[in-house]
């Protein structure tokens, strides 16, 4: 009969319409601005409308979420900053649109290059948020930020991020990406241990050599 399909379809829309109110009742009207309800509303169990009331409510970004990269520095006990980046250039080499510029720094006394960038630029008007820089950085120094609220009125003065703007402390990293941070810390600890072991082995060899020459 003509119209049956239409009526059935209308039934679906009505169901969608009613579901929201059912959900409202379920949460006793505390459907919005309630973290508990919000988590359910954004999951596969969601019923009815599941609008995010941005900017009052914000989606919880998953750990892997990536936007613009940032550089990590460790805060040493004496309050100075120790860059993790060694200006090895791998991120600049792997970056697909080539939007990373790294200026290496030289030791003012010897003139030899030292493993620290003196400047680090990322043109975020080119960056494609691909995360390859962070994936292949061998020193856990560049990671992807979660901050997406970075729109500006003027790109020429603001959208080439320099080192100052990119630098974030390790504690910030730990706050935005705790799991990755733990993995990185383990990797760093392993590296330190390896280095120490190597050093110890070298010392031992040296000592043995010394003993031999002494004999």
């Amino acid at each position: 009969m003509y119209g049956v399909g239409l009526v059935k379809g209308m039934g679906v829309t009505i169901k969608h319409f009613v579901n929201t109110y059912v959900d409202d009742l379920r949460w006793f009207g505390r459907r919005y601005y309630n973290p508990e309800a919000f988590a359910v509303r954004q999951s596969p169990q969601a019923q009815g409308i599941f609008t995010v009331q941005y900017p009052e409510e914000k989606l919880i970004m998953p750990e892997e979420f990536r936007y613009i990269p940032f550089l990590i520095y460790d805060e040493l006990e004496d309050g100075t900053r120790q860059d993790r980046c060694t200006s090895c250039g791998i991120c600049a080499k792997v970056c697909p649109p080539q939007c990373i510029w790294i200026v290496r720094s030289d030791d003012p006394e010897t003139g030899r290059p030292i493993p620290e960038p003196s400047e680090f630029f990322i043109d975020i008007d080119i960056c494609m948020n691909c995360g390859l820089c962070s994936e292949y950085c061998p020193f856990e120094a560049i990671r992807m930020d979660h901050d997406y609220e970075i729109s500006t009125y003027d790109r020429f003065s603001e959208n080439i991020y320099n080192k100052e703007k990119l630098d974030k402390p390790a504690s910030f990293y730990a706050a935005v990406r705790p799991l990755n941070y733990a993995i990185d810390e383990a990797a760093i600890a392993e590296k330190v241990a390896k280095k120490a072991a190597k050093e110890a082995a070298r010392k031992q060899r040296q000592a043995e050599k010394d003993r031999k020459t002494d004999e």
């Binding site: 003509y2 399909g5 239409l6 750990e63 979420f65 080539q98 510029w101 995360g131």
Partner: protein, 587 residues
């Protein structure tokens, strides 16, 4: 084609190995290291192609592209042909001197070559004699040069290959426009003066359209045909696509698609990139299904490198590719209804479900749309904790119910039926001839699905049906998509049940993979159809040729055919049912 099969049974069972004996003097095997297929003399090409189609059953021309071998001063045209019953590709090439590349057009043999030959003319300057309309397709008429030639440089040209030296170690930051006199990514031939320049109008474009006026035979009115432009800024062309339509009253008599408004030079950039750099760029081809684009590219490069991803990675790949198919088809269905005039409600329901799957993608890969998740020989990272559970909830509980709901909502709807049934019919013969792929091909009654015809990854392990319908109209394309969503759900259900633990990457992840010289063609069944990556390596860190067989682009070849005789309002629905993505059409 099944109905033509009987007289050529003999031909279709022959092994391609024996091809050489059948074409003495015409065919020589391609003996370069890492290459396969045959070389055909250009003057024998048409004869060879006709016989290949008629006697050997290679009725489906998948891809045509050119390669500029600058060091050898040779321009090569590469063809990939299939039998529609399935099986591997037959690759044949023809070589012409680079200075004056002229190749006979194969549009007469396989009409599906039409747009691809125009593209090769536009970007590489290969002239196809006998082509009915050899005009530029992606760039505009009057553009200077053929950009994909290796010695052609754009205004923002820095170096031939990435990485560029001034990023590191020199570290010289500048905005490239500051170094260009015009500041705008433009360059002109010297001696060019804009004062006298008259840009080519649309006359050339309109010229091919049959514009007849009907003088009226007494019983009817005297009418003139009308040329109407739809797009490039039009809400229902799904982006910046333009159709030039001639109308007789409201009836479409001819249609010409005009594209290139989103031509982003993917291939030129891709040939400068290193292999891994292209991965995130493939996301931006068909931006609704980035995961399966990744899949195709990874397959092509893995073929060249001769590596296999580990078991777990294979399963995750299938899960992601099938979720992508669901996402893409949901979007297509929602926006088909949009085009039919059911503004936004069905699309909203579809987008709801899409958002939940995008959340999975975001958790897994870090981005909702631009996933960049596949690596050569594996994946970027393992599934984060809890994700498999979310996928389970979606795939076993929510999505099957929601798809049924969508089915109830739309399938029997009388308005949908009367707008869709019998509109935009593409016969199976035409579908094959025009190289249509994906749901468009399957809705025309050809059960061709790359996952079945030439299984890749681990698709041979799953139990699923190839969705096929026989009407070839808009409605059947919608039904095929709906059915494919259900099949994809089935595949993912099997995959999440069987997924093993283990590694997700073969070997260590390296950023500069070593790719031996050779060629490879990786193809996957994308939601839009067969997506192919033709990659030629010369052993360097950058691909020498990187070509994409874009299903949306080639499906458009049949658009005019589908639209003729229908009303102008149906054109929008027909276009919606092909489900094009401009990022892929124009690349």
């Amino acid at each position: 084609m099944t109905d033509k099969e009987s007289p050529q049974v003999e031909g279709t069972t022959r092994e391609p190995d024996s091809l050489e004996q059948h074409f003495p003097g015409i065919l020589t095997p391609d003996e370069r290291e890492g290459f396969d297929g045959y070389l055909v003399a250009p003057d024998k090409l048409t004869e060879f192609a006709t016989r290949l189609r008629d006697e050997f059953g290679y009725d489906y021309l998948s891809s045509v592209t050119g390669v500029d071998y600058l060091p050898d001063e040779v321009m090569e045209v590469v063809y990939h042909a299939y039998r529609i019953e399935g099986g591997p590709a037959l690759v044949f090439k023809t070589q012409v001197p680079r200075a004056d590349p002229v190749v006979p057009s194969l549009v007469g043999v396989w009409p599906g070559a039409d747009f691809q030959e125009r593209e090769a003319w536009d970007l590489l300057g290969i002239r196809f004699t006998g082509h009915p309309n050899l005009r530029r397709i992606l760039m505009w008429e009057g553009f200077e040069g053929h950009p994909l030639r290796k010695d052609w440089h754009e205004a923002y040209f820095e170096e031939d290959a990435k990485p560029f030296a001034n990023r590191w170690p020199e570290g010289d930051v500048y905005r490239i426009e500051d170094k260009i006199p015009f500041g705008k990514n433009v360059q002109y031939p010297s001696e060019f003066t804009p004062e006298g320049w008259i840009p080519e109008g649309d006359e050339g474009l309109y010229a091919g359209l049959g514009q007849i006026s009907n003088d009226g035979d007494g019983s009817s009115l005297k009418t003139d045909q009308l040329v109407v432009n739809l797009g490039p800024q039009h809400p229902s062309t799904h982006g910046v696509f333009r159709m030039v339509v001639t109308l007789d009253g409201e009836t479409v008599t001819d249609l010409k698609p005009v594209m290139g408004y989103l031509h982003r030079n993917h291939e030129k950039i891709g040939e400068r990139n290193t292999y891994i750099m292209n991965m995130p760029y493939t996301d931006r081809l068909d931006y609704l299904s980035s995961m399966s684009n990744n899949f195709g590219y990874a397959l092509a490069v893995e073929k060249l490198m001769d590596i296999q991803p580990p078991e777990r990675a294979e399963y995750i790949r299938v899960i992601m590719a099938e979720l992508t198919r669901i996402v893409s088809h949901l979007w297509a269905i929602g926006f088909l209804l949009n085009d039919l005039g059911a503004f936004f409600t069905p699309a909203l329901y579809a987008i709801n479900e899409r958002e939940l799957i995008l959340d999975v993608f975001e958790a897994v890969s870090g981005s909702r749309m631009m996933c960049n998740y596949f690596r050569f020989g594996g994946l970027a990272r393992d599934l984060p904790p809890g994700t498999l559970q979310t996928i389970r909830e979606l795939i076993f509980e929510r999505l099957p119910r929601r798809v049924d709901e969508l089915d109830i909502y739309l399938t029997e709807n009388e308005i949908v039926r009367s707008r869709c049934i019998g509109v935009g019919v593409l016969s199976p013969e035409k579908a094959v001839a025009f190289s249509a792929a994906g749901p468009v091909l399957r809705a025309s009654g050809i059960p061709y699905d790359v996952r079945r015809a030439e299984p890749y990854g681990i698709y041979d392990r799953f139990d699923f049906e190839v969705a096929v319908r026989y009407g070839g109209d808009v409605y059947d394309r919608y039904l095929v998509r709906l059915q494919e969503i259900r099949e994809s759900i089935r595949i993912v259900q099997q995959a999440v049940d069987d997924i093993p633990e283990g590694e997700i990457q073969t070997g260590k992840p390296i950023f500069q993979v070593r790719v031996p010289a050779g060629e490879a063609y990786g193809r996957v069944e994308n939601p839009k159809g067969e997506l192919g990556f033709y990659v030629v390596s010369n052993g360097k860190p950058n691909p020498w040729r990187y070509h994409i067989r874009a299903p949306s682009f080639i499906n458009l070849t049949a658009l005019a055919e589908m639209c003729k005789g229908h009303k102008v309002a149906d054109v929008v629905a027909i276009l919606g049912s092909i489900d094009i993505i401009l990022g892929e059409v124009d690349r």
